[in-house]
Structure formats: structure tokens, C-alpha cells
Subunit: 309 residues, 2 copies
């Protein structure tokens, strides 16, 4: 469904994270009313936004009040990809149940949801590459399972209540504002270590393949989907290019002219061997394409880390 | 994984429901230590079982104490297939989160889980029939979504912690001890109305196709899977035969010699048009087959309803 009149406002749920901050800056340039929501005030948010700070699971009144006539980007997650399960039950409550309460509350509101899912984890280990959106989904971490469950609940809400949504399965985004110490975002971590002349740990043999998409491209994809995405559809937002960790290290060495010392440590069981996603569906719909090559993206990431971190 | 030594005990979680009661009677004949758990004491349970009554979500100590060296049949569900979403957030907490707490607690216990999933809802509306276990899964009700999420969490626990489980996707079971007024179980409802000479409501045109499997066959399938199911695998437990509601009404009329008056009411949006499941995988593994034809099953259901209800 292509909307003829845009929504009055854009709301980012989880605006204090890496994708959220970048998205906030891109949306701020668009001139619409922008609301940034997260647990904490974020000093990286643009100055001309309305900030709402609160606990997502508590459905703050101030947040509920703006959830109408809006494109709502859902980036909230209480967890990250990891291989433990001790917190899975709590994650399900914090993420799945909480989101369902918002979906229920906003059933009769004029909202387009853009649910940001995890292209890197929802497909699981056995998908053929480049993976298309109709592939089987067998996540091997709780993070991916929660994203997948929510995708399916959005579809249920559309079926039962005509809730308007698109799912964006973003592959491995990287770039400015990615925290190099978060444990998520290998490029930020590697570039940071390279700049600090520290050795980096490589899980397994360094031949795991990932699809790195530069954050500006990813954010542009999300905004395209908010405007033009077919209601109820799932779109990969990805570079379509597979890069091994070993390749990535070479790109960093070459681009930054810095030696990078590596230590190999045991592979992680929840890492899939290869993840490369086709973004043909998004490209066909909107003409979107990933414009930033890995070398340029690594350079921009290094520039940002040098100045800000 | 075929076990060489059977577990010392069998535990039924959700033993007070239709499948649970029948399973309890079948297991009681097997001679192993049998524990029946549910929210309420059930007077239909066999006399020689240990009964534990409590709130599943509270992880009662008495229940935790028996979750070792056991085949654990997981039939607990806080919800049923329905087309509303008001309670979905709570259902996710009650069923998904609670089960994850048990999985976490029993990680190092010697348990084979038999997770009873919903063959009638996990595949969704677009599966080709007879549906095999590797088909896409797109449930259109919260009940099916929760079953699917739990299947995938069991797989995650196997991957990360070697949790031993099988999934049984039971189609539409019917027979004695099915509550004709529960809103689940069309055969019990129709037979009950026929015996009471009441008109029955048919949703839509009566041409929705279902796969009815007699409860004794279904229970035998579950017990076969506990003993011989390949660890981590999913098995349909089904008749493989598609029957429309209109056909079913003819079978009831013919078998019971009773006229059945019908009123057509609007179709339900969460009902899939056709659901017929292949049980070839289970049949190949254990030689299991559905022995009871629809006429005989309807007769047995009517006999039980006449005597007990």
C-alpha cells in the first residue's frame, strides 16, 4: 500500500541505539514532527526533536499520546544476539508482550509500523545465500526468535485488525554511532581496536560470512519502506555482498593503513556460518540500492570513532 | 535418538485437558510412575497416579521435584484458537515465558520433552495438503503463534544445551473426554447437539476441511514419540484424511441415525480453509498408523457423551 498523504509525525521507539540515532538524524532533515523515545535521554539526538524518556514495558502516557497519525519505527529490544538462555523468559516478556500491548492499544490509530527485524538472525544457519524473504526461518538465538515472533504477531494484527506495517530485516548495519564495546557490530569493534593499536579476537577461523550494510543506506531503506513499503510485507535491507571476517580485516588494514593484530578464539555456537541477504525486493519496489562500499564505510566509521569516541 | 533405557516416570503438564486425561489413562496402563499436573484436581484421572495441582507459571516446588528422569508431556496452554488479541500479551507471558523458565530450570535434568503443538494452526492458511513437517509456518491466531514460538525455543535449547525433545503437531483430535462446550473440538460439539436434538451452528459454508484424528490414535502417537522420536524432530500426528464439516454432519447422521439441524453463521477469520496433515514421517519411524475410522470414532464419542456428560 503506497500512502498518498504522509503521516504527520515520525516516532522512533528505541531511538537511543545505533540505528535509532542515525534514523533520527535522517528524519530530522525531512521536516516532519519527530519524536524520539528511549529509556534514557540521548545526547546524540538532533536538537529539534521531541524526546520522551521512559520504560517501554510500562506504556508511558506521554508516549501513548503521540502514537497516532504517525510512522512508528519499532527498534526496541531488551536483548542482543547471545548464546545464553538464562534471560530468555524475561526477554519474551519485555519485548514480545510489551509490543503486543502497544499493538492492542493502537488498533484504531492511524499508524504505519516499520518493525525493524534482524536479517542476520531470523533465517538461521541453513538458509541458501543470498537469502530472500520467503526463505525458512530457524533462528538459533533468542534475539532472532523474539524478532520472528513479533513479525508474525504484526502479520496477525494485520489479518485480524488491518494493522498497517512493514518488516525490515536489516542485515549487519555498521557506521557512525555504533558503540565499539557493545558486543554487537564487528566493524566498529575492529576499527576501534585498529585505531587503538590493540589486538582483536576473531571467533573461529575468521571465515564466517556476513552482509555489512552501511548505516546511511540502511536508514534510507527504512524511510523508503515507511513511505512505499507494501503493507504486511517483509523486506531485506542489505548490501547483498558477503564478506568474511578475514576479508574485513584486510579492508580495514588497507583503508586505514593500520596493522591489525588478531587472536583466534573459539567459535560461538549461535553464529551462523554465512549470512548474505538479497535486497532485490526492496530495490524493485523503490529503486533503493546500497550506495556505500565497504572501504568507504570503514573510512567513515574510523573518522567518526577518531573524533567522537 | 532412540532411548535404550526408558525414563523412570512420565509427567503430564496440563493433564486435566482432553488430551491429557486420555494420555493419563494410556500411560497408567504402561506401569511407569505417572504424575498428573494441572491447575485443578481432575476426577477423570486414573486412581493410581500422583496428582500435583498448582499454577504452571509459578513453578511449584512439588512439580519441579519430579522433573527428572522423566518423559515430560507438555500440554499446558492458557489459551485456545480464537480471533481476538486482547489477551495475547498475557498468553505470551503465561505460556512462552513460563515454559522457558522450566526449560532453564531443567537444563541439566534427564528429561525427554514431548511438546504437544497444534498441527491445525501452526501451518496457517497457505500450506499445501497433505502438509508435511517442513512446510512454511504462518499461523493466523495467537494460539498457533505461541505453539510455534515454543517449538523454536525447544530447538534453541537443544542447540545450546542439548535439551532432548520431540514436537508432536497433533491435527484435530476428538473422542471421549472432549468437552462439547469448550469451543474447541467440533466433533464433540456436533455429536452432543445431535444427541440433545439441538440445532448446530456451522461457520461459513461448511466446506472447511479438517484432519480429525481419534484420541486413542493421537495418544498412541505421543507415546511412540516419547520412546522412539528422533531428538529435535517435529512429527505430525494426524489421520491424513480431509473431512468437510458437511461431510462430518453426514457421518454423524448416518452413524447415530439422528437428524442434525444446522444454522449457517459467518465464517471465522482465523479459521484456515483446509488443513490436512501427512503423518508419513511418524509412520515411517514407528509403524504408527491411525486405526480408528471417523464412523467408529464418532460412535465412541457418542457412547461416551451419552454415559458421562
Amino acid at each position: 500500500m503506497q500512502r498518498t498523504t504522509p503521516h504527520r509525525r515520525a516516532v522512533i521507539l528505541g531511538a537511543g541505539g545505533f540505528i535509532g540515532i542515525n534514523l533520527a538524524h535522517a528524519l530530522a532533515k525531512d521536516g516532519c514532527e519527530l519524536i524520539c523515545f528511549d529509556r534514557f535521554q540521548c545526547h546524540y539526538w538532533p536538537t529539534n526533536v521531541k524526546a520522551i524518556v521512559g520504560d517501554f514495558s510500562q506504556l508511558p502516557e506521554e508516549l501513548l499520546a503521540v502514537l497516532d497519525d504517525a510512522a512508528v519505527y519499532h527498534l526496541v529490544s531488551s536483548c542482543r544476539p547471545h548464546q545464553h538462555t538464562e534471560t530468555a523468559a524475561d526477554e519474551v516478556v519485555a519485548d514480545v508482550s510489551s509490543t503486543l500491548r502497544y499493538l492492542e492499544y493502537t488498533r484504531h490509530k492511524n499508524i504505519r509500523w516499520v518493525f525493524v527485524s534482524s536479517g542476520g538472525t531470523v533465517y538461521g544457519p541453513n538458509a541458501s545465500c543470498p537469502t530472500t524473504e520467503d526463505a525458512q526461518t530457524n533462528p538459533i538465538c533468542s534475539y532472532g526468535l523474539i524478532k520472528l515472533a513479533l513479525e508474525k504477531y504484526f502479520a496477525l494484527y494485520k489479518k485480524l485488525h488491518e494493522t498497517d506495517f512493514v518488516v525490515a530485516r536489516v542485515s549487519n548495519p555498521y557506521g557512525p554511532w555504533q558503540d565499539p564495546s557493545s558486543g554487537q557490530g564487528v566493524i566498529a569493534a575492529l576499527v576501534y581496536k585498529a585505531l587503538a593499536v590493540q589486538a582483536v579476537e576473531i571467533w573461529g577461523d575468521g571465515e564466517n560470512v556476513r552482509d555489512y550494510v552501511y548505516i546511511d543506506d540502511a536508514v534510507r531503506g527504512l524511510m523508503d519502506l515507511a513511505k512505499h513499503g507494501e503493507s504486511g510485507e517483509i523486506y531485506n535491507v542489505s548490501s547483498g555482498v558477503g564478506t568474511t571476517i578475514n576479508d574485513l580485516i584486510q579492508v580495514i588494514r588497507h583503508t586505514l593503513g593500520i596493522q591489525l593484530n588478531t587472536n583466534c578464539v573459539a567459535a560461538r555456537i549461535f553464529d551462523v556460518r554465512k549470512s548474505v541477504l538479497s535486497s532485490n525486493k526492496l530495490q524493485s519496489l523503490t529503486g533503493w540500492s546500497p550506495n556505500t562500499c565497504l572501504g568507504d564505510g570503514v573510512k567513515a566509521t574510523a573518522d567518526w570513532l577518531s573524533k567522537k569516541w
